[in-house]
């Protein structure tokens, strides 16, 4: 798979230790959910950030998506906790 831009917000960003990065996940990483599992295996900070994937929300190219959404064609995927704006 080609390069993919990942962006992290709030405590996901704090735990991962960076605001964004470029990654190239293997081809068998098909969905958002699988991307989170793959990330969680990249190191302690990622394991901590993605330890409870059910509470993490994702957006592909700036639109909310569900965990079972395919990541094929995505340019930018963001991970963040539930939003607390307003």
């Amino acid at each position: 798979m080609s390069q993919l831009k990942l962006i992290y917000f709030s405590w996901v960003r704090e735990r991962v230790g960076k605001a964004e990065e470029e990654v190239a996940p293997p081809k068998d990483v098909v969905t958002v959910s699988e991307l989170m599992s793959w990330l969680a295996r990249r190191g302690e900070e990622y394991a901590h950030a993605f330890e409870n994937p059910k509470v993490i929300r994702a957006a592909i190219d700036r639109s909310h998506v569900r965990p079972d959404t395919a990541i094929a064609g995505a340019r930018e995927i963001a991970f963040f906790p539930p939003m607390t704006g307003g």
Partner: protein, 160 residues
């Protein structure tokens, strides 16, 4: 329909924004403004400041989608949404929603709808600073419940 969406660090002037929507027109019969303000305490604990992080680009897009959705649901004549980001002190403004319509029900419903969605779908995250350090505010189930009521078939519009 006149619509304005702004994300900014600076404070806003709610009255000036409302005035912009109504100036020079006589078809508007109702204007609702909602101003969200930084409180001095969160869940009972005093706070020193609030920092709002946001996802630039997505925040504007997400708010635009909901403003369009509100326009499709109610006969609106104007909508303004301004959301601040960055660090703010208790008493400072955080968010402004202004809705204008011929009749009050549409203006009220659209303002509530937009606020419910800003709370639960717009990519903003609040962090509070208190004596015990910095803490990310947790999402409220009540806010999710409030947002979900708009998924149901329209009921309140029946009174219009």
């Amino acid at each position: 329909m006149a619509s304005t969406i702004r994300l900014q660090r600076e404070d806003f002037d709610a009255a000036a924004e409302a005035a912009k929507l109504t100036r020079g027109r006589s078809d508007i019969g109702a204007v609702v403004t909602f101003t969200g303000i930084c409180r001095g305490s969160e869940s009972g604990d005093p706070i020193a400041a609030l920092t709002l992080e946001h996802y630039p680009g997505m925040a504007e897009a997400e708010i635009s989608r909901h403003v369009e959705d509100a326009q499709a649901r109610w006969p609106l004549l104007g909508v303004t949404v301004i959301h601040r980001y960055g660090r703010m002190m208790p008493g400072e403004n955080i968010v402004l929603v202004v809705t204008a319509s011929s009749h009050r029900q549409a203006a009220f419903a659209a303002a509530e709808f937009l606020m419910d969605y800003l709370k639960t779908r717009a990519p903003f995250w609040k962090q509070v600073e208190s004596v015990s350090g910095k803490t990310w505010v947790e999402a409220q189930q009540a806010d999710d419940a409030a947002a979900k009521r708009w998924n149901k078939p329209p009921g309140r519009e029946a009174a219009e």
